[in-house]
Assembly symmetry: C2
Homo-oligomer: 140 residues x 2
DNA sequence: ATTATTTTGCAACAAAGTTGCATCTGTTTA
DNA sequence: TAAACAGATGCAACTTTGTTGCAAAATAAT
């Protein structure tokens, strides 16, 4: 885990600092998306709010994480898979929000469908947000 | 136009007030989505910020407008078509954001695709956000 | 026209996000 | 390994966005 974090930072030519390591660890531990507030709480408010914002911004620019559009318009961040980097920024994504437990995740293996747009429209990116019940919540 | 506005308000059992009329007119005039800021500006700051928020909230509850999730997490509002009302709240929507002119619109005639979710997942709602160039911007 | 009900604007507040700057930490080089 | 440099951090102050309670004003009902 420690190594994975360092690898990612080095690969992206980022210096290895406390906040970056800690925040990246959070993303790796938890399969799912995190809000800015979550991150502050789960780092034990060890880092300044500003630092968290700036760290997330850096990760966004490097393509390490990406944002997820939500219907309630809170900002969520999620780890990107390997095929995303600077330049190639998540052309297509399917995100799932569980109405029960609130978990938001990126369904990487689900392919984004082709959408027939009206005449004259050209698309560059498609994001899909699915609401429903996740695997865990459906057990009960 | 005046009539259309009054009709909508009456149909939803809302009293006819300055801000409601003006804001509804904005939505009817403009085919596309509006941010809260847009609305304030285009009403000439005639109404208090709070009033605008509350008016939008009322329209949302009544199903007159709906919000659109955007990748940059700004809140956008758009008019609903007739088949949306209290209770039946936009289960499926395709929204288009033009990267050129920034216009965001609701593509009502585009059908939302079926998405195969992983085992155990159940969906209740699907929102699709498409980025690209709109009809108008593609002319040049 | 008068009353009852809603809606509005104001003030104050809370949350979310940004900026500039001095200080500190990580990295590089000798 | 120590000095020097570049970059990251924390603090303070500020802006933007959104919320709440309450008195005044506008709308609807009688």
């Amino acid at each position: 885990m420690q190594e994975a974090v360092q690898d990612i930072l080095k690969k992206n030519q980022l210096s290895i600092t406390g906040s970056r390591v800690k925040i990246l660890e959070l993303f790796l531990e938890q399969q799912g998306a995190l809000a800015h507030g979550d991150i502050e709480r789960r780092t034990g408010e060890k880092f300044d709010r500003v630092t968290v914002y700036r760290t997330l911004q850096v990760f966004l620019n490097k393509g390490i994480i990406h944002t997820i559009p939500t219907s309630d318009n809170s900002v969520l961040y999620a780890l990107c898979k390997d095929d995303c980097g600077e330049g190639h920024h998540h052309d297509n994504h399917v995100h799932f929000v569980c109405d029960d437990c609130g978990t938001t995740m990126c369904l990487d293996d689900v392919t984004v469908p082709v959408i027939r747009l009206p005449k004259g429209f050209k698309f560059t990116q498609i994001q899909v947000v699915v609401n429903g019940r996740c695997k865990d919540c459906n057990r009960d």
